[in-house]
Amino acid sequence: MDRHEIEAWMDRRREPEWLRRLRLEAFEAYERTPLPALQEEEWRRTDARRIPLGRVVLNGFRDGALHEEHTSGHPAGVAAYLESGPRRTGAWMETAYSKRGLILTDMELALREHADLMRPHLEGSALSLERDKFAALHAAVWHGGWFLRVPEGERIEQPIWVRSWLPRSHRFAGPRTLIVAERRSRVIVIEERESEPGADAAFHCPGVEIVCGESAEVVVVTIDRRGDDVWDVSHERARVGASASLTWIVLHLGTLARKTFLETSLEGAGAEARMVGLSLLDGVRQSDVVSTFHHGAPRTRGDIVFGGVSRDRGRSVYRGRIVVPRHARGTDSHLTHRVLLMSPDARAESIPILEIEANDVKCKHAASQGAIDPDQLFYLMSRGLPRVEAERTLALAFVEDLIGRAPAGWVQERLRERVAERFNR
């Protein structure tokens, strides 16, 4: 891949000048940035040299996918629905919302129709996505993904559901997701990421940006069930404005190996963010997640609970940072990491970090790791549950304790169903 190739690709995609400039700058950064070394603190446990960068190709997506209106077949109880993929995609939206300016659309289409709305966010984020070689790669060659915009003051009661899907033929993908919830808006959005497994390793390098305007209330749920052939390096970032509240739920059920950066910046006074993460690891799958809560303004609140269940040879690394700079007075931030190890070959690492430069704060973290509690197991068995059943029940209870923190109803049901599916595999 070289500069000419990218230019030709952008020509074919008929991309605007400002985007071409962003991509070329990012590509330069990609070329001059070395692969992260194992000595680098955040890459100590993932050897970047093993990531199949050779999969990167530029002709992945059909240039400018087209929407097909889902006149029927969209799921019940949702405000809007989008199927996003490399070919023709489908969408549906409650008419009342589309009239009031709600946008949910495929990224390729959004670039044509809503470039003005997206441009400030894409330009603003390009630099932050330069934090390592993979972020630069994403910023240079991203394609596909989706765009959601909730207009100012608009309160969407039913959830918005997005299904992102990649066929076997796509061994590389770099989708970009942009969620913009404007001031005082309210929205719940669920994305399920899926991919069709192939015979050899695939490489994904997605980027997610969530923008919560002042006083917005946003719930973002990601259910990742991509194939067990995927190597994934993703950079996901949320910005939370003054008095806004974000609940971010991340359920990792798929991929072979992941390196995921989840960054939450509490940028306005009184901003609030909750994160609930859960990864289920089985087989030889591994997960390396770095989450950062950056308290950038006074009186912000953060609450993170990250959990992991590892079976077989599943390995997990979780590094959770809470950063409080000097001016962030009145910060209140908690982080909890819990791991359940269910087999002798399972492994886990926790690295919860506090970096505190202000003294008017309450910050706490806690981590625990262990096997199923033998007394709980005995209790369930004493009620007649066979050992296997009792162990499964306790593992699901461990998971349920996390799921219970998601918004009740539709979201929780969906999470439960997906966990049970993976668990019973």
Partner: protein, 472 residues
């Protein structure tokens, strides 16, 4: 609440008065500054060392040169290895009679109150190191009779060469880290302790370390072997004069607790604020053994020290209590490491850190459970107290687990002094500064109470001196 006034000068002058005086230099031997093969060979020559040890030192020098400076932890960029005296011999030999110690050194230790405790019979033995050499060493007859050894390394090498060589460098290899390599090349002074099987030394053995010269580097080496079922408590303290240029202290401490033995190692580190304190401390705990580190860091400019315990035998236990206080201009990067390498091992780490003014404390720790360490249990508790708006605290705990049947828990909190607590005390008539003092002492209490009475009193006084800037 108004931030408390922070007065660096007040603390400095208090320290200076109490510990920070200096003596005129009148040394038997003072090596030139800087570090090279010739200098290292000279130290070995002056000590009449066996060829193996000379080779060991020279090899370590090469490792030191090759190793990179740590790219984490405290800021060490101002250390100039060429501007350090690596070896100063203050007197001809180590005395076992206090009266024979050179007058000016005796005065120094008298002023620091060192021989007092020994006279009162509160200690089983005392060692005093001044610059690079141990100037005084004694062990009560009761313990010598039972075969306890408490010597400086030179004497140990001379009289118990086999025993010394069997364990020396086995717990902390030369190449462990850059500063362990440095110590291995130029070490001088320190303690060698051997406690025979079943002997329980019921009163602490104490060593006191004093740096006097400007730009001094002190590199003592301590090796403690507690044989089967024995018990020993070692206490060390350290101070230095206040200079405008920096000194370097880089010790290596190796502990071996054989089956069922118990070692407690207490440190009260009170270096002046111009000392880089970069120390490697590690213990091996065999089956059923119990090792405790009580590590208090109040002084120094930058401290990087993480006492560790490798539990290599079934049922071994480790406890690390770490207390750190960083005032203006100080960075205490402390913590602890425990490695569970055998079944039924248990560990506890408790860290309390206090940052005042622009002081910075870092807890850095590792809990590692190796596969096969079934039923291992570990709990870590870190609490940080920030006294002023500019105070900084960091917490970096690493938890690595390869054993599904292990139970590991970790908790950490960072907070300022509770307004409700402060209000409660003030409502009983205490002025704010005193209330603050009491709260800080209460915060440190769980660690201070683990010390013998005299040391606990001393600790509380040191905390008060650290707080003094606020009181003044």
């Amino acid at each position: 609440m108004q931030p408390l006034p922070s007065d660096l000068e007040a603390v400095k002058s208090l320290y200076k008065e109490k510990y920070g005086f200096s003596d005129a230099e009148d040394y038997v031997f003072k090596a030139r500054k800087g570090l090279d093969e010739r200098g290292v060979a000279e130290i070995s020559h002056l000590k009449n060392e066996a060829p193996w040890l000379r080779e060991y030192r020279l090899k370590a020098l090469h490792v030191f040169a090759k190793k990179r400076m740590p790219n984490w932890g405290g800021d060490l960029s101002a250390i100039d290895f060429n501007n350090v005296y690596y070896y100063i011999r203050p007197s001809e030999r180590s005395e076992d009679n206090w009266e024979d110690v050179p007058e000016y050194i005796k005065n120094t230790f008298d002023r620091l109150g060192i021989p007092e405790a020994e006279k009162k019979g509160l200690l089983g033995g005392v060692g005093a190191q001044y610059e690079s050499e141990v100037v005084y060493h004694s062990l009560q007859e009761q313990w010598t009779k039972q075969g306890v050894l408490f010597l400086d390394p030179d004497s140990a090498l001379r009289d118990h060469a086999d025993l010394f060589r069997r364990w020396f460098g086995k717990v902390i290899p030369v190449a462990d880290n850059k500063f362990a390599a440095l110590n291995s090349a130029v070490f001088s002074g320190g303690s060698f302790i051997y406690v025979p099987p079943g002997v329980k030394v019921t009163v602490p053995l104490q060593a006191y370390f004093r740096i006097n010269a400007k730009n001094m580097g002190q590199f003592e080496r301590t090796l403690i072997i507690a044989d089967r079922g024995s018990d020993v408590h070692y206490v060390e303290g350290c101070t230095a004069p206040v200079y405008s240029s920096d000194s370097l202290h880089s010790a290596v401490v190796e502990l071996v607790a054989l089956e069922g033995a118990h070692i407690r190692y207490t440190t009260i580190q009170n270096w002046s604020n111009n000392v880089y304190n970069l120390v490697t401390k590690r213990a091996l705990a065999h089956a059923g053994a119990f090792v405790e580190w009580v590590d208090c860091n109040l002084g120094s400019k930058v401290t990087m020290k993480y006492p560790s315990v490798y539990m290599v035998g079934a049922g071994a236990r480790a406890e690390i209590l770490s207390l750190a206080f960083a005032a203006d201009g100080q960075h205490q990067d402390a913590g602890g490491k425990v490695v569970h390498a055998a079944p039924d091992t248990r560990s506890t780490i408790v860290s309390k850190s206090i940052s005042k003014g622009r002081g910075k404390t870092t807890y850095r720790g590792l809990v590692k459970v190796e596969r096969g360490a079934e039923r291992a249990k570990s709990h870590v508790q870190c609490d940080a107290l920030l006294l002023d708006p500019e105070s900084v605290s960091e917490t970096f705990p690493y938890i690595e687990n390869e054993e599904d049947r292990a139970t590991l828990t970790h908790e950490a909190t960072v907070s300022k002094v509770g307004e409700d607590q402060l209000f409660y005390l003030m409502s009983r008539g205490l002025p704010q500064v005193h209330a603050m003092n009491l709260i800080v002492r209460g915060f440190a209490e769980s660690i201070v109470k683990e010390m013998p009475m005299e040391y606990a009193v001393e600790m509380n006084r040191l905390i008060e001196i650290q707080m003094e800037g606020a009181v003044g």
